[in-house]
């Protein structure tokens, strides 16, 4: 015959499991969100799509590593001189402010950015 304690114990175990799964789902959703949340909203207001900007970076930096590094560098310390946007664009919209995101989140956002637009996966 099962004791009351044992039954309680079982249900606690189940609850912990569920909680764990939910947390995992939340965290992964958050990671997926990093780019949508921190970049897309603001860029939606701009006439240059993030895809166009991405291709501009590819045109200059070529490889995955260099492209990612260059974007991160620019986001951390934006500068009119190293910007790849046209002068007209910069005059109109101004140089963006340095990002306040922490390194980890920024990296996650850029990784998603790359995944979303890179050529290797899409070209046929």
């Amino acid at each position: 015959m099962k004791s009351l304690y044992q039954r309680h114990y079982c249900s606690i175990k189940v609850w912990i499991k569920i909680l764990f799964v939910v947390m995992l789902w939340l965290s992964s959703a958050k990671a997926h969100d990093a780019f949508e949340k921190h970049c897309v909203a603001c860029h939606a207001k701009l006439p240059a799509s993030l895809e166009r900007i991405f291709f501009n970076y590819l045109l200059v930096y070529s490889s995955q590593k260099d492209t990612k590094e260059a974007i991160i560098y620019y986001l951390k310390s934006p500068d009119k001189d190293i910007s790849l946007m046209s002068d007209l664009f910069l005059d109109t919209f101004g140089v963006k402010k340095a990002t306040k995101l922490d390194d980890k989140t920024l990296k996650k956002a850029i990784d998603i950015y790359w995944e979303k637009y890179n050529v290797m996966d899409k070209i046929r």
């Binding site: 590819l58 045109l59 590593k65 050529v119 290797m120 070209i123």
Partner: protein, 395 residues
């Protein structure tokens, strides 16, 4: 006339040897030169063909870059890699990661502009703007093998012709160089032959006259002198016979083999050399079993003479010479100065005397050896210094 022919043909033997050596070296060297030239020719031909192909390939590359540019700008609408039926191509990013490839041979070498690989020709261009992130564009076409066939054919044909011409030239050259040597050898040979021939008459005269001399009317003192003259004449005669054998008899084609009573031959020759032996007070001990052997008489005599004269020449005063003849074995033992064991293998070499200052056995034993070899008679020499020498012939 005949002897002259023989002379030239024997000359040719020694000549051929140096001729062959020279020609081998010469042809070897020429071959190396021809091979090097062939490689050089092949390489230059290769480069020529590549240069022609490069023009075509760079045109293809230009077209490809234009198309890549368009794809780059309209990637959202159509992410299609530009294709061309005339060639295959691939693009790689700055870190040599493949972006897209249609190549059949996928291994690419980025530090060469143009190269052949597995039947294909690869042409690598670096893009100024990295459309689609591509820094390297590789164009691949079929490698045309026609030129290789043509080139190899050229190399084989011209190489062979050159080799033949060079060989003929080498032959001519070597003949040119050898002529003076040949002349001097001819001269020397003729001189030795003529001299030997000239010796015949006076030597016969001396020997005959010594025999004819009436010793009974001589004073004892003169008898002794005549004796010495006789010994000297016989020694010269032995040398003379060896020389004639070498220059005239040796290459006589046919042997006049007859049945020889070996015992009698030995007795005859011992008698002939007795006077020489007496001068050193050497005694002969003969144990001769009657034995017969088919052989050229002159050659048999040369063998016995040389062995006997050596046994006398290298014996000590008051020594003995034992000669034992059995049906298939002849043994000549002297009690002489002996030969160093280490030198025994060389005693049959011709002109050993001239090579080593201590002196040796001259041409005599070399003649003995050639004759014995011809009749398949084995010779064994045992010797101990200051004890004597034992020569054993077996057949």
């Amino acid at each position: 006339m005949i002897s002259k022919n023989r002379l030239t043909s024997s000359l040719l033997k020694s000549e051929t040897k140096s001729l062959v050596r020279f020609l081998t070296l010469y042809i070897l060297l020429s071959s190396v030169v021809i091979v090097l030239l062939s490689i050089f020719y092949y390489e230059s031909q290769n480069r020529l063909v590549l240069a022609q192909q490069r023009t075509l390939l760079s045109t293809y590359a230009h077209e490809m870059i234009r198309k890549l540019k368009r794809t780059h700008h309209f990637f959202e609408e159509s992410p299609l890699y530009p294709r061309d039926s005339r060639f295959q191509s691939a693009i790689y990013d700055r870190e040599y990661h493949k972006i897209f490839s249609l190549l059949e041979v996928t291994k690419v070498s980025f530090n060469e502009e143009i190269y052949r690989t597995q039947g294909k020709l690869h042409y690598v261009t670096v893009l100024d703007s990295y459309y689609l992130g591509a820094k390297y564009l590789v164009i691949e076409i079929e490698d045309d093998h026609q030129w290789i066939k043509a080139t190899l054919q050229d190399i084989v044909v011209f190489g062979l012709v050159a080799l033949i011409v060079l060989a003929l030239f080498g032959l001519y050259l070597s003949r040119l160089f050898l002529t003076p040597m040949r002349n001097s050898i001819l001269l020397l040979d003729r001189f030795i032959k003529d001299t030997t021939h000239e010796l015949n008459t006076p030597l016969s005269a001396i020997l005959a006259n010594i025999e004819l001399m009436d010793t009974s009317v001589m004073v004892e003192k003169n008898k002794k002198k005549l004796h010495r003259i006789n010994i000297a004449a016989k020694t010269v005669s032995a040398i003379y016979k060896d020389l004639t054998y070498l220059t005239l008899e040796k290459d006589r084609m046919t042997n006049e083999d007859i049945d020889i009573d070996v015992g009698r031959l030995i007795n005859d020759r011992v008698e002939y050399f007795d006077i020489l032996a007496q001068s050193k007070n050497i005694t002969f001990e003969l144990q001769l079993t009657p034995t017969h052997f088919r052989m050229d008489k002159k050659k048999a005599t040369r063998v016995v003479d040389n062995l006997l004269s050596n046994a006398i020449k290298y014996n000590r005063r008051n020594g003995t010479i034992t000669i034992m003849l059995q049906p298939n074995r002849l043994e000549i033992i002297d009690s002489g100065i002996g030969i160093e064991e280490s030198k025994i293998p060389y005693i049959f070499d011709r002109y050993l005397r001239f090579n080593q200052s201590e002196g040796g056995f001259g041409i005599g034993l070399s003649i003995v050896k050639t004759i014995l070899d011809e009749y398949r008679i084995a010779i064994e020499v045992h010797s101990k210094l200051d004890w004597g020498t034992q020569v054993i012939l077996t057949w």
